[in-house]
Symmetry: C2
Subunit: 108 residues, 2 copies
């Protein structure tokens, strides 16, 4: 009986897309290349490629090409992306306070 705010629903949809949070966390530390992110995150190249395209389309990240040898491509947060920093920080803080060792055992 209660309408959800469409903007919130959209935002939540984006942020709850698998791996998007970790990619944002990574990019908050600064510009990153594809292979760096692939190494740092537990995500396959296929999905990393998908998610970077999604985030670029949504205006959250920028893709910068440097025509060096070999070619270098860096991903950075846009202003819209940087504005998500509080969200990520809050999650970090919550995790530190409420995620226990037991939670990490993950004995599903």
């Amino acid at each position: 009986m209660n309408q959800l705010c469409p903007r919130f629903e959209k935002a939540m949809g984006l942020l709850s897309t698998r791996w998007v949070g970790l990619i944002l966390f990574e990019l908050l530390k600064g510009a990153k290349r594809f292979s760096e992110m692939e190494a740092d995150l537990p995500i396959s190249g296929r999905l990393l490629s998908d998610r970077l395209k999604l985030l670029e389309k949504e205006g959250i990240i920028q893709r910068n090409i440097y025509s060096e040898f070999p070619v270098r491509i860096e991903y950075t947060l846009s202003e819209k992306g940087k504005a998500l920093e509080p969200v990520i920080k809050d999650i970090q803080q919550w995790a530190e306070e409420y995620i226990t060792m037991d939670d990490l055992k993950d004995v599903e």
Copy 2:
């Protein structure tokens, strides 16, 4: 080359589980019954059931049974769950500021 914090990764995994964000948003408004959430959220009973079980297992929500006629079962946030309020509020604020009408058209 950069290690992710396991607690953060776990928290992000939880929060980025489909529908979890919307369920939290719903429960921040107060106790809710299964059928209320099913009506309010664009989620099927099967997944709502799955997610409620997950969140209960993770200690984020509580399931309270009232033996009335007919039986009433209410879900509420635990302390751990309520502590996620800042995350949800930040997402709301970000959505209001950065999600445009265009974003909502979603013409993928």
